[in-house]
Amino acid sequence: MTPAENTKHDQFLRLYVEHEEALNGFVRALVPTRDDAREVMQEVAVVLWRKFEELPEIQDFRRWAFGVARFQALAFLRDRARDRHVFGDDVLELLAADAAADADVFEAERNALDECLGKLDAAQRTLVDAAYAPGARIDALAATSGRSPMSLYKALHRIRLALMGCTQRVLAREELT
């Protein structure tokens, strides 16, 4: 790469790394599964890099990246609408608007999650680690753990709700101090 390309590349890398998690959370809300989100995020990254030169102001990166992510998620869902259970365009638009408006709040909640994960008991933590491990499948997990897939889904649901409650408490506490 030329020095100019290096600079541009580093600039893109910094911006992308800074916003990647927020974009991922945003995309995850728009598509049904984590694998879908992963697929969309690959496209988002490619498009952002290809069009990076067209970004007029670096300060606009976040807004621009959210716009690209929203477009890619909607395109992904349209392509798969025939055989997948997905929301209509009007609901997707509502979700996209809310997710973009509250991006800072969601980021704060993700950061608070660091502390909340440490508060899970050993059994909860073991389950979360296993269920969210790369390539993990609930049916395989159920087979090895001797529990039914439904009981694992429900246990994970309770953990997610507990983590949501915990992040709110952490953020409320920080606001008070």
Binding site: M1, E5, N6, H9, D10, F12, L13, R14, V17, E18, E20, E21, N24, G25, R28, A29, P32, T33, R34, D35, A37, R38, E39, M41, Q42, A45, V46, W49, H85, F87, G88, D90, V91, L94, L95, D98, D102, F106, E109, R110, N111, L113, D114, L117, G118, K119, A122, R125, V128, D129, Y132, P134, G135, Y153, K154, L156, H157, R160, M164, T167
Partner: protein
């Protein structure tokens, strides 16, 4: 089951990817009409996305630490130009041995991060901070610019220059840090290595054990908690005091990153520009923009002290480590009202008195000595006329709240002196601490002085008042800033959020 619980159940099915067509339509209907539930659904998805993004891999149970926020960074070549791209599912089965976790204002000299796998990569970090996770060693590593380093393999980091802090969690497979001067093997601990290019390397152990030896020498030393060694050449290493606060720990990265994201660097520059317009400004030493590293603003001269990264990525500070380190300057002012402010990072509890700003000698009425004491308090010393000394008017007022809790992080200190009201007020991190009455109302005299030290040599004694740590800026104004002005400046110039 309440309607709300039913809705959450629908959300669960959708997020798990097991919702039926009917359930999806039912959820869609709620999301369309219920804004509060829509937000809750987004929060639920947010938690799921965060858990699925690799956050768990660096967050052991019951330990609050600093997970891989950006672990999902699977870079791959896109074209011959080695442009970057994101791999995807396959990456999750072949995860990098060394992962990028966080960047805080990082600027590289070349496109260093060209692959998801960082092993084998050399990096030249010009400014900012980078956090890495060495998965095999279960080590979180923070590197502060300026730094040149190479990730040799899954357990070895080679540092040519810069500072690295390592937190190795289980100690099963130690992290190795190589420098031009030493070879450090972790034995389960928190430690740091400071490499000054062409001069020396220091190894500091905060907790646990580390084995270290001079490069190319068979003999190795075992360092335990609160021990430090300096390796300069192949000669015997020199024992040093451990400087706990020198190194940025993973815990601090978060607050610094939040500060960068919140635009604090820009706010600080704006606040600086505003204050520089103040007609009573006597001096502003920011340690910036001096082409020659041996000089600072106002014709000041650096002696021994090292120019390092300041409180913002890419900004500069002076670091005082050795007993003769200091900077000289002459603000050349006499004023009845005086405000002094500084941003400092204290490395450790001082042994005696640490100079923030000391005018030379101690023989001129009105001359000022501003310092930090080993009891954790700030002191504002003002020399009085000999007759006053005899009458007990010589004073060294001190602040109330000890600052010892502020070690190892940037702290803003301010002192305000008014000869007319004969009062001195102290402020820490923008917060009023105390006001002390002065017996004499002399004008403050700011002549030849030292920052970060006060060397007094005569035939009886050699004294040092070295500040152990960094100073980012020193400001002198010929008026008394109000409590709200000081607080406002602190808030605007604070690197943390």
């Amino acid at each position: 089951m309440s309607p709300h619980q039913q809705n959450l159940e629908l959300a669960r099915h959708y997020v798990e990817g097991i919702a039926t067509a009917e359930e999806t339509r039912a959820l869609e209907k709620v999301l369309r009409t219920d804004a509060a539930f829509r937000r809750q659904f987004l929060r639920y998805s947010n938690v799921d996305a965060a858990l699925g993004s690799g956050r768990l891999s660096a967050a052991p149970a019951k330990v609050i630490n600093y997970p891989a926020r950006f672990s999902c960074l699977p870079w791959r070549p896109l074209a011959a130009a080695a442009v970057l791209l994101f791999a995807g599912a396959a990456w999750f089965f072949t995860r990098p041995q060394v992962q990028l976790v966080r960047l805080v204002g990082a600027e590289f000299a070349v496109a260093s991060l060209s692959s998801g796998e960082l092993v084998g990569h050399s990096m030249d970090l010009k400014s900012g901070l980078i956090e890495l996770n060495f998965r095999k060693s279960n080590a979180t590593v923070v590197i502060e610019a300026p730094a040149k380093f190479r990730i040799e393999d899954a357990k070895t980091l080679r540092m040519e220059s810069g500072r690295v802090t390592a937190h190795v969690r289980d100690g099963k497979q130690g992290l190795r840090v190589l420098t031009p001067h030493t070879d450090v093997l972790d034995l389960g601990t928190r430690f740091a290595v400071d490499v000054q290019e062409g001069r020396r390397s220091e190894v500091h152990v905060f907790e646990g054990k580390v084995e270290a030896g001079a490069a190319g020498v068979v003999h190795r030393d075992l360092l335990t908690t609160s021990q430090a060694l300096r390796f300069a050449t192949a000669t015997k290493p020199e024992s040093r005091e451990v400087r706990t606060g020198t190194f940025v720990q993973p815990e601090e990265m978060k607050a610094l990153m939040a500060g960068v994201k919140a635009g604090q660097a820009k706010r600080a520059l704006d606040a600086e520009a505003k204050l520089k317009q103040d007609k009573t400004l006597i001096g502003w030493i920011g340690f910036e923009n001096q082409p020659d590293g041996s000089h600072i603003e106002h014709g000041g001269e650096v002696q021994g002290a090292r120019r390092v990264q300041g409180r913002f990525p890419g900004s500069h500070a002076l670091e005082f480590v050795d007993k003769d380190d200091h900077a000289k300057l002459n603000l050349n002012a006499t004023t009845r009202q005086l405000t002094l402010m500084t941003w400092v990072r204290l490395d450790r509890v001082p042994e005696g008195i640490s100079s923030l700003y000391h005018t030379d000698g101690w023989d001129t009425p009105g001359q000022v000595h501003w310092s930090f004491l080993n009891n954790g308090q700030m002191r504002f010393g003002m020399h009085s006329a000999p007759a006053d000394s005899e009458n007990g008017k010589e004073q060294w007022p001190e602040s109330g709240d000890p600052l010892l809790g502020q070690l190892g992080r940037w702290v803003h200190l301010a002192v305000v002196y008014d000869a007319d009201t004969q009062q001195v007020s102290f402020y820490t991190n923008g917060k009023f601490d105390s006001t002390v009455a002065m017996k004499a109302g002399l004008p403050a005299v700011l002549g030849p002085a030292q920052i970060g030290n006060w060397n007094l040599k005569n035939r009886f004694t050699t004294q040092h008042r070295r500040l152990s740590g960094r100073m980012d800026e020193l400001v002198a104004l010929g008026r008394t800033l109000s409590a709200s002005e000081i607080h406002e400046y602190y808030v605007a110039s604070n690197p943390y959020q």
